[in-house]
């Protein structure tokens, strides 16, 4: 194999990648194309195989089976230093013995680039830290180190920039700020960013395309709006935001709609939003899509009657209700506080209603708890 660095550009294609460690399969027959110039997020809980996937793309791990192509070049077994791919490591991995300037210049010097000073200065200006060039990494705050790690990678203008939980170590406020900044920098430099995270909000804020991973496989891939609006699996429905999943039976057709029986009450939903394979189905409705009304108030769309308010949390911009339904299930409802109507009280008898087009349908044999477990790590950070 040639020792020269590869200059390939183009889409990243992972083809039937499997990575096993003994009996444990970290990544399971994964096929994925990441288009050139996109901001792509691999989203999933810890242990879902997203970091392993990233490390295989970086060249730090070799797939057990499968191939990785960058454009038309097969890079499956190429050494990391020969790949036109750079990584922003979790906890940054800056070189503690080198100044910020030399940290950023490291990749340029290894490739024998001439105008090191000019390029480093340029990228230091991009991340707005030109005054820190002569400092050592330990003299910088977490947020500053994060930006330097980013600068050290993008200064090489790689075909692909990999970000491994890049904002994980920052506090919430700084993280929000960096999300916007990262998105801006990606547009500015026009590189392909592949971002690995367990934080769904982070993925949704930044990425054009999100692949939700679970147990080594991709559950669903699409734009943030697609995934949120029409999740295909219970895991995606629960991992991205919150969902109410109500068990039902398909009871007939009505043009482009399905008639679904939810515990004896008939509702309607678009056929094309159902992922059910037989008659049994879970009807999914996001909490903010529900409306609550008092008994007797006329409403449009689907309606489920017989609920009563179990719990009320007023949080300013909205009020969150837990509504107990007659079949024993509690559903979550978020109401915007924009109508001047006094909130409902605990114990009020209510109906809930929603637009049929907001309904999504999941297979009846799904585990509706999938993707709901709260990651202790996330709790700690929030």
């Amino acid at each position: 194999m040639s020792k020269d660095p590869i200059t390939a550009r183009g889409d990243l294609r992972l083809t039937r990648i499997t990575k096993s460690y003994g009996d444990f399969t970290a990544v399971d027959d994964l096929t994925l194309t990441i288009p050139k110039g996109s901001f792509f997020a691999l989203l999933g809980p810890s242990g879902c195989g997203k970091t392993t996937t990233l490390r295989m793309v970086a060249g730090l791990e070799e797939p057990t089976v499968g191939s990785i192509h960058l454009g038309d070049t097969d890079i499956t077994t190429t050494r990391p230093y020969q790949r036109p791919i750079n990584t922003v490591f979790q906890n940054y991995a800056l070189f503690p013995h080198l100044t910020i300037f030399e940290n950023i210049a490291f990749g340029l010097r290894r490739r024998g680039i001439k105008d090191v000073k000019e390029q480093v200065d340029k990228v230091l200006n991009l991340v707005e830290l030109p005054h820190l060039a002569e400092r050592k990494p330990t003299q910088l705050s977490g947020g500053q180190q994060q930006r330097i790690a980013l600068a050290r990678a993008i200064v090489n203008r790689p075909a692909l920039l990999l970000l491994d939980e890049p904002l994980g170590a920052l506090d919430l406020k700084l993280r929000r700020q960096m999300q916007i900044e990262l998105k801006w920098i990606q547009r500015e430099v026009g590189l392909t960013f592949v971002h690995v995270t367990h934080d769904q909000e982070e993925a949704m804020t930044m990425a054009d395309t999100i692949a939700v991973m679970n147990e080594g496989k991709i559950e669903q891939m699409g734009s943030p709006a697609d995934l949120y609006d029409n999740p295909k699996t219970a895991f995606v429905a629960n991992f991205l935001g919150q969902s109410n999943l109500i068990k039902g039976k398909i009871d007939g057709n009505d043009g482009d709609n399905l008639v679904v029986d939810l515990y004896g009450q008939k509702i309607s939903m678009p056929k094309k939003r159902s992922h059910a394979v037989d008659n049994s189905l879970y009807a999914g409705i996001r909490p903010e899509k529900f409306r609550i009304s008092r008994l007797g108030t006329p409403v449009k769309g689907n309606i489920l009657t017989g609920g009563h308010i179990e719990d009320v949390s007023y949080i300013g911009v909205s009020t969150q209700y837990v509504v107990a339904m007659p079949w024993g299930q509690e559903v979550m409802v978020f109401e915007q506080n924009d109508d001047g109507v006094a909130p409902f009280d605990k114990g009020d008898e209510v109906n809930i209603s929603w637009e049929p087009t907001f309904t999504f349908g999941l297979r009846g044999d799904e585990d509706i708890e999938a993707g709901t477990e709260v990651n202790p790590e996330e709790l700690e950070e929030e």
Binding site: G59, P80, N86, F95, G107, R111, N156
Partner: protein, 284 residues
């Protein structure tokens, strides 16, 4: 109980200070006084009086400059060999040993379970005619059929290298172990091949260990006399041997004291220059 807070640190210092004052500062003052004494005219062997004879230093140095030079050459060689052996060893323990890490670390310090003298005497047999080293080297024609290794400078340097190896290995291990493996991955990610990553990241980050290890080897090696006494010959005498014989055999205290001070000063100067050069300001 209400000591003002500011006094507590001084109280904590007190036992150490008292101990060192009694057993280090006072003896060294005594040694300094001895170094400028001359024999009492008509007195017995070992009777000296203070005459501020600083010429003792010059005389002692001129008489023993060969042994001084040899001490530093041997110590330097032993330090280089120990570093060459210990670096790969410490690297393997820190990065490649997996679950055997603790066992290997115990093995590194295992020689300390036996006496220093005993181990050095054992080397005499290892390098002797009845050992396997000399016949082996002869069979491979690496050394001549008549060549022996005992009582040579090779034996002395080999013994010193062996004896100080743990002092080199442990600090090296400690500093290699502290390196975040992701910084080495990051070097690979930034177009450095294995060798370049080692040279540009691993070595600089292990430098504090290199400095500590070489000092812990070089300083005692320069003053050592056991290896030269047991494994060497009169032709391999080091300055430590001279000081030892001046004190205990010839009872020439002033010369022994002057030599001790000269050795200390020489080591101090060399070490200072070395640390300056290595640029590890964090270390001092």
């Amino acid at each position: 109980m209400s000591f003002p807070k500011v006094r507590v640190p001084y109280l904590l210092l007190l036992p150490g200070f008292a101990f060192l004052f009694t057993f280090f500062i006072l003896p060294i003052i005594n040694l300094a006084q001895t170094s400028t004494q001359t024999p009492i005219a008509g007195g017995d062997t070992g009777q000296y009086e203070q005459t501020l004879a600083f010429s003792n230093y010059i005389q002692a140095f001129v008489d023993n400059k060969e042994q001084f030079g040899r001490s530093f050459v041997y110590a330097t060689l032993a330090t280089i060999f120990a570093l060459a052996i210990a670096y790969p060893l410490a690297y393997a323990i820190a990065f490649k040993s997996g679950k055997f890490k603790n066992i290997l670390l115990v093995l590194v310090v295992a020689p300390f379970f036996t006496s220093f003298l005993l181990r050095t005497i054992a080397w005499k047999q290892i390098l002797g005619e009845e050992g396997f080293v000399v016949p082996g080297l002869r069979a491979l024609n690496i050394i001549g059929q008549q060549t022996t290794l005992t009582s040579t400078s090779v034996a002395v340097v080999a013994g010193m290298t062996y004896n100080f190896l743990p002092f080199m290995t442990l600090p090296l291990y400690a500093s290699l172990e502290r390196i975040d493996p992701r910084t080495i991955e990051a070097a690979g990610d930034l177009y450095a091949n294995g060798l370049t990553a080692f040279r540009r990241v691993t070595v600089p980050l292990s430098l504090p260990g290199v400095v500590a290890g070489t000092l812990l080897t070089f300083i005692p090696a320069a003053g050592d006399y056991v290896n030269a006494a047991i494994l060497g010959s009169p032709n391999t005498k080091m300055i430590g041997n001279v000081i030892e014989s001046r004190y205990f055999k010839i009872v020439d205290y002033p010369t022994a004291a002057a030599l001790s001070f000269t050795l200390m000063a020489a080591i101090l100067i060399l070490v200072t220059l070395y640390i300056r050069k290595a640029g590890t300001e964090e270390l001092v």
